[in-house]
Symmetry: C2
Subunit: 359 residues, 2 copies
């Protein structure tokens, strides 16, 4: 069986050993005579899975007891609504940084629920970029400050986070656990799992417990963080198999080491950006150099026709899913934690060859 | 590998051939060089899965073009909120039948959003039962009428549905596709997948398109049925692997035939109820005879100590998860579509033996 190099932005490549373990246990989970998909979510098999997932996440994020780790459903798009439903009561204002398509979606949803101030706007900047910390116009007494730590589509990433008086809330869907950071600087972090953490269908929320108490009494039970804190993410039936894969991935991250993964991620990205910068302008990085993403390397070719040809020929060569997001075009190499450096080198070689043939 | 008899109420037993196919494709999905969990949700591999799932559901439910089939996240508990958020605008009233613990949860959530009239209340009846059609006190001009087609915990099931002027909305989580019925009698049907349809993490919603237009403009985009109709359940990244298993299960239902499954389900339930009724009062069915569920057979023993012993000894004999829901106690045999008649016969034999030893 030949594994391809899968540059998909998400759902994305998973560690092979995770898939092998999932395959081995699929029909008979650890001698239970059942698939984990068939096990009661309140039985000992699944509870051990969820408990380990939460413990691994707490350890990897070095969380204090002030924080709850929740495993929910609905992805980041669900959190675009849940965050303001819980944290933006009538009469208050939330500061949002408008840094790209995902931030815009978060803002659009928040505006249906409460008052939003755009604290900085770089969404239309070219090259693409996220705001500098000194650019933020924050509202005194804001309910919270929201940012998108890595814009998956534009390929721009926050390299350091602002210190804010108001609780800092971050959509970390595409760079969660790709680098060490101080989680206690945040009031709430969320991430759809399908980039660095696991398959689609499970959403990680890390929330300061104190903050969850802010929820207005009119919010449905299912959309309150407090409900899921009280019930240990078991208020409704969890997405058990997705949580299982996430648990295996966090186990793998612990084994490799977060610092090691971070060094590997920086190295992988550096190889691609070096290839772009050495191409004499044939390849042009889409993001400003100071915020080039280590996760999503976005670049353009001289013409859209060449971009189309590049995507087609690279796919035929086993370098899959390099086409940029349909909303912006160009090329995008997503190189999350589980993406191997060999695939990066294969892409670099392909880029040189493609330029030689079409330069 | 020995498969146990898994009587779990959900997540529940899946067809073995579905698990075998999922296992075979887990690392390399149909020669793609990727797991389906790693495939883009907009790529041809996943799109074919979702398209087939929706087509199978449309065929099995004999839906007209007036209906949309949505594959969402959040389970029935999510729908307890989404239904009134979409269909219960300020100034209107929804009629709810209060038939058990799941109906009570639906009512509690709806009351946070709008005005609720309890059209019939059998939640505290013993033996457990659902309302008769002639018991409903409906509100003229109600926004909708809500019922729970099968109360998984109490083991009481609607055998025929009321004809209502207002759109009929049903939580069919635990008997969806266990029997043929006229779906066009309903305005909206929802079901968490983890009983008859697949694993946890995906939620089926069938909604009359006209009804989805009723949503107030203040509802977050992610919680509008209209959003998911417009985007073909791709507004956010779907729970791809759960949808894949659901697709395989619907393919299996089509192969076996819904009428055949229904006959099998009625037969399986009849064998258990016959064993209960033939026990001379040693076993007592929890539900009133006219609404005994074909999915969840609930019964009691003379004492709680004997119930405890029964649960323990049956588990040791490979008859798993027979303990009743923690909120009501007793015993419960959940015998969904994929549960084999051999397991029912094994339970009947165990019941006779247990009574002989402890009668």
């Amino acid at each position: 069986m030949a594994r391809v190099y899968n540059f998909c932005a998400g759902p994305a490549v998973l560690p092979l050993e995770v898939l092998e373990e999932a395959q081995a246990t699929l029909i008979d989970y650890r001698g239970s005579g059942m698939s984990l998909m068939e096990c009661s979510h309140r039985g000992k098999e699944y509870m051990a899975v969820q408990d380990e997932a939460v413990a691994n996440l707490r350890e990897l994020l070095r969380l204090t007891d002030d924080y709850a780790v929740l495993l929910l459903q609905g992805g980041a798009s669900g959190q675009f609504a849940m965050v303001p439903m819980n944290l933006l009561p009538p009469g208050s204002v939330a500061d949002y940084t408008r840094s790209g398509i995902w931030a815009i979606k978060a803002i659009k949803e928040a505006k249906l629920i409460g008052k939003v101030n755009v604290a900085a706007d770089t969404a239309d900047a070219l090259p693409t970029r996220v705001p500098r910390v000194d650019e933020l116009t924050l509202t005194p007494g804001a309910a919270y400050v929201h940012l998108t730590s890595n814009e998956t589509i534009s390929g721009a990433q926050w390299k350091a986070f602002p210190r804010t008086d108001a609780p800092l809330v971050a959509d970390m869907s595409s760079d969660m656990l790709s680098r060490p950071f101080d989680a206690t600087q945040f009031g709430l972090i969320y991430a759809g799992a399908q980039k660095n953490l696991g398959p689609s269908g499970v959403t990680l929320v890390v929330v300061r417990k104190e903050l969850a108490k802010r929820v207005p009494a009119t919010v449905p039970m299912i959309f309150r963080y407090q409900t899921h804190i009280d019930e240990g993410s078991m208020y409704n039936t969890p997405p058990c198999f997705s949580v299982y894969i996430l648990m295996l991935v966090t186990r793998w991250i612990k084994k490799v080491g977060l610092e090691t993964l971070y060094r590997r991620n920086v190295d992988k990205a550096a190889r691609l950006y070096a290839a772009i910068d050495a191409s004499g302008g044939y390849y042009r990085g889409s993001a400003a150099k100071e915020c080039r993403s280590d996760m999503n390397v976005t670049f353009r070719l001289p013409t859209e026709a060449l971009e189309e040809q590049f995507a087609k020929e690279s796919s035929a060569a086993g370098l899959k899913q390099l086409k940029g997001h349909r909303s912006v075009g160009g090329l995008r190499a997503s190189i999350y934690n589980a993406f191997p450096v060999e695939g990066v080198d294969a892409l670099v070689a392909f880029m040189k060859d493609f330029q030689r043939r079409n330069g």
